[in-house]
Symmetry: C2
Subunit: 113 residues, 2 copies
């Protein structure tokens, strides 16, 4: 058996499972952007961003094209935007439905050293 589908799925989700990568995808939802702009929108060092972009590229989730001296990134499929929307819905519901967790989060904010 080759890479079974459920394993491909797990890998796909694992690829999305990083704050910087999520932000990249969110920024790209409204259209392609040069690295410079991603860098401006995310608090991270250039080399770290590059590493995360490489992860997304290897997974085939984004594509990069060089334009002169800059490099422009884009989502490789519009479906990715749908998925992020679905995720946001779930998350919102989940947080809303779990009063305690919400309270906990709020508490943490007030008791930060």
């Amino acid at each position: 058996m080759p890479v079974p589908l459920y394993q491909a799925k797990a890998e796909f989700f694992r690829t999305l499972g990083h704050p910087v990568r999520i932000r990249v995808l969110e920024l790209l939802q409204d259209g392609p952007l040069p690295v410079r702009d991603l860098l401006a929108g995310i608090e991270v060092e250039a080399s770290n961003l590059s590493q995360q972009l490489a992860v997304l590229r290897r997974a085939g989730i984004v594509t990069s094209t060089r334009e002169g001296s800059t490099v422009v990134y884009a989502l490789s499929s519009k479906d990715v935007a749908d998925l992020l929307r679905a995720a946001r819905r779930i998350l919102t519901d989940m947080i809303a439905g779990q009063g305690e967790l919400l309270a906990e989060l709020r508490e943490a904010e007030h008791t930060r050293p």
Copy 2:
């Protein structure tokens, strides 16, 4: 700023990013199941499955209720099923777009023992 949303999202996806956990969610898509049945449907040791179930529980993605001497698991929201469907669509498209991988999958299907 509290746990920012993009970080919650990343955590959520990371939680889905494991083959055993994906299989559990797929099996639960059609309704609640006792651990015994999950165990029968996934090739993994009981204690390992328990660990993965604990991860899903902590994330609030599934719920467990004890019924007599067995424990029954269920998806905590139907939206999870939607999300998995969205993911399947993306993955299928992505694979279709990447000819070689598709060929590999097809090959595997014909050469199944």
